[in-house]
């Protein structure tokens, strides 16, 4: 099956435009849902009610109200800030998170760019986010921002190693870097998913990837870059209004990116869990988004369960636990694949 946009519109400019704009429509809608989910999940896990007024029914319009508020807010730039970098940083961060959507196969009939380096591209392009965050922290001319940015850089660089090693183990089994092919390799019932493959090695791989991806999205318990109790808000302390909204959107976009990648690598991506039942281009999008949202929910669940790591604990977890385990896992999966 091929990309339905190129099928109907050819490979011209219009097709590329629609292909590139389609994910942002999804990201904006998803961000609203995820914001609402986060508010409600956090509230109910703490035995609170959360927003209940906005829009009458259980505060469903709260994210809309938040967005409208952010858009109306005054856009402040500190006088001592490096203006060019300051303005560029949120764009770069969002660009880095959004670019990853190009290689995510939403459905067997839709993938932004069906390139054979899919997952490699996602890992590479996500690294731009670090640059944007460093720029934001440096240009703000604020000690909290700078400290937050330094922590982010250290954290993201450390956790990219276990996450890349984990991805590599799956790639060895699937035999392709193209995420569409990785999905296709898991077709059938849910026991064909890679999370159950080479048991238990790919399951351990999934756990490693999930922990590392939490750290890469700066989510709690790895949110030391924005640790509100010690760093005000970390690298986006000085940002307000629209620019802050970009950071916010980028964080939620990132959450879904890592969740979608985990869904593709370990949970069959757009495959239905029940063989050919409920499968097809539209159901494919449904399954990928559902799996992604479940993983996003688990990220939130962990956020409201665990307290924040200390910096040394963070480094210990990455270098002394995740990396050696990922390496050992890689060797085990590699041997299994070769000696099959």
């Amino acid at each position: 099956m091929h990309n339905f946009i190129t099928y109907y519109l050819g490979a011209g400019f219009l097709a590329s435009l629609i292909s590139s704009v389609l994910p942002i429509v999804f990201v904006l809608g998803y961000a609203l849902v995820a914001m609402y989910l986060e508010l409600k999940v956090s509230a109910h896990m703490q035995d609170r009610l959360g927003p209940m007024r906005t829009g009458k029914w259980h505060g469903w319009a709260q994210p809309l109200a938040d967005v409208v508020k952010l858009l109306q807010k005054e856009d402040t730039i500190p006088t001592a800030a490096d203006k060019l970098l300051y303005i560029l940083a949120p764009l770069l961060v969002f660009m880095g998170s959004y670019a990853a959507y190009a290689a995510i196969p939403f459905s067997p009939a839709y993938i932004g760019a069906d390139i054979n380096l899919g997952i490699f591209y996602i890992i590479a392009v996500s690294a731009i986010v670090v640059l944007g965050i460093l720029m934001a922290g440096w240009s703000s001319d604020n000690k909290w921002s700078l400290l937050g940015a330094m922590r982010t850089a250290a954290q993201l660089v450390s956790y990219e190693i276990p996450s890349s090693l984990a991805v590599l183990a799956v790639i060895m089994v699937a035999g392709s870097l193209n995420l569409n092919d990785v999905c296709a390799a898991q077709t059938g019932w849910f026991w064909n998913w890679f999370i159950f493959g080479k048991f238990p090695f790919l399951f351990i791989t999934f756990v490693i990837y999930f922990i590392a991806s939490l750290a890469e999205t700066n989510r709690s318990p790895f949110d030391i870059p924005e640790a509100e109790s010690e760093l005000v808000a970390g690298y986006h302390t000085e940002y307000s209004g629209m620019r802050f909204a970009f950071f916010y959107l980028a964080e939620y976009a990132n959450m879904f990116t890592v969740a979608a990648v985990a869904a593709v690598l370990f949970f069959g991506g757009w495959n239905s869990p029940f063989g050919t039942f409920m499968s097809g281009p539209i159901w494919g999008a449904f399954w990928l988004i559902t799996k992604g949202m479940v993983l996003v929910f688990i990220q939130m669940w962990l956020r409201w369960t665990l307290p924040r790591f200390r910096v040394d604990q963070l480094m210990y977890l990455s270098w002394k636990i995740l990396t050696p385990f990922a390496l050992a896992d890689l060797v085990a999966v590699g041997l299994w694949t070769v000696l099959r």
Partner: protein
């Protein structure tokens, strides 16, 4: 324990404790919230909760005991004596009302909700309600007036009380002057004790007006007034005596 074993043990412990924590939060996700949507839903106020005071003026005898008990002086009471021809009725506890309450203000901006004014009340007419939402934009609006008389009535009652007081004082002065004259007539040589008698009249009239002034120096006056107003205690010490007269002694 050797370091390797500890390393693996720590990892195992880390995972198991995270799962325990996740179980706890998942359980709480489905337990009903402990918070309520306040203006729509309310918690019940404890039976003995101390909130806004209320004064049932039908039962108030103007004894000023609550104002005296108040540690922050937020209660202001002024009274005027009723005429002997007027009948103010009795309270629900059966006490006869003798004073017109011309002012009964409670300043809730000052009130500390200690509840000390409630127990002294002989007729139990001042008590705590369960109303606690009465914030206001202006501090003046927190001064609650409980009197049932209209301003016109208040002026009239004060005036008639003053007049009655003056008449009584004049009568008394006349009587004592007559008695003095009689005494003088009897004793012939002795000069009349005028200076003491002359001061009695103005002193008596000021005592009537200063019933409820807040200055601590007038505390004595208040006590006298309250004793006079409280029917149960009246006949004990100065039976039949005019309290105003005893004050000037």
């Amino acid at each position: 324990m050797n370091p390797t074993a500890r390393y693996f043990r720590n990892i195992g412990k880390g995972f198991s404790t995270v799962l325990v924590g996740m179980k706890v939060t998942m359980r709480h996700l489905f337990t009903p919230a402990v918070t309520i949507q306040y203006p729509d839903a309310r918690m019940s106020i404890p039976e003995r909760g101390r909130n806004r005071l209320y004064v049932n003026m039908d039962d108030c005898i103007g004894c000023d005991q609550c104002a005296m008990a108040c540690p922050v002086d937020c209660i202001t009471i002024e009274t005027a004596k009723s005429l002997s021809t007027e009948d103010l009725g009795v309270t629900s506890t059966g006490q006869k009302k003798r004073l017109w309450v011309t002012q009964f203000d409670i300043d809730f901006g000052k009130c500390c909700y200690c509840g000390l004014c409630v127990p002294p009340c002989p007729t139990e007419c001042i008590y705590m309600t369960s109303v606690f939402e009465f914030s206001d934009y202006d501090r003046k609006n927190l001064i609650y007036s409980f009197i049932t008389l209209t301003p016109g009535e208040v002026a009239q009652k004060v005036k008639q009380a003053q007049q009655a007081e003056r008449e009584a004082a004049a009568k008394k002065a006349a009587a004592s002057a007559a008695a003095a004259a009689q005494k003088a007539a009897q004793a012939a040589q002795k000069p009349a004790p005028t200076p003491e008698e002359a001061t009695q009249k103005p002193a008596a009239s000021t005592a009537q007006q200063s019933t409820s002034s807040d200055s601590p120096g007038k505390q004595e006056d208040k006590k006298m007034e309250s004793r006079e107003a409280k029917p149960g205690q009246e006949p004990t010490s100065s039976a039949g005596d005019n309290p105003h007269e005893s004050k000037t002694d």
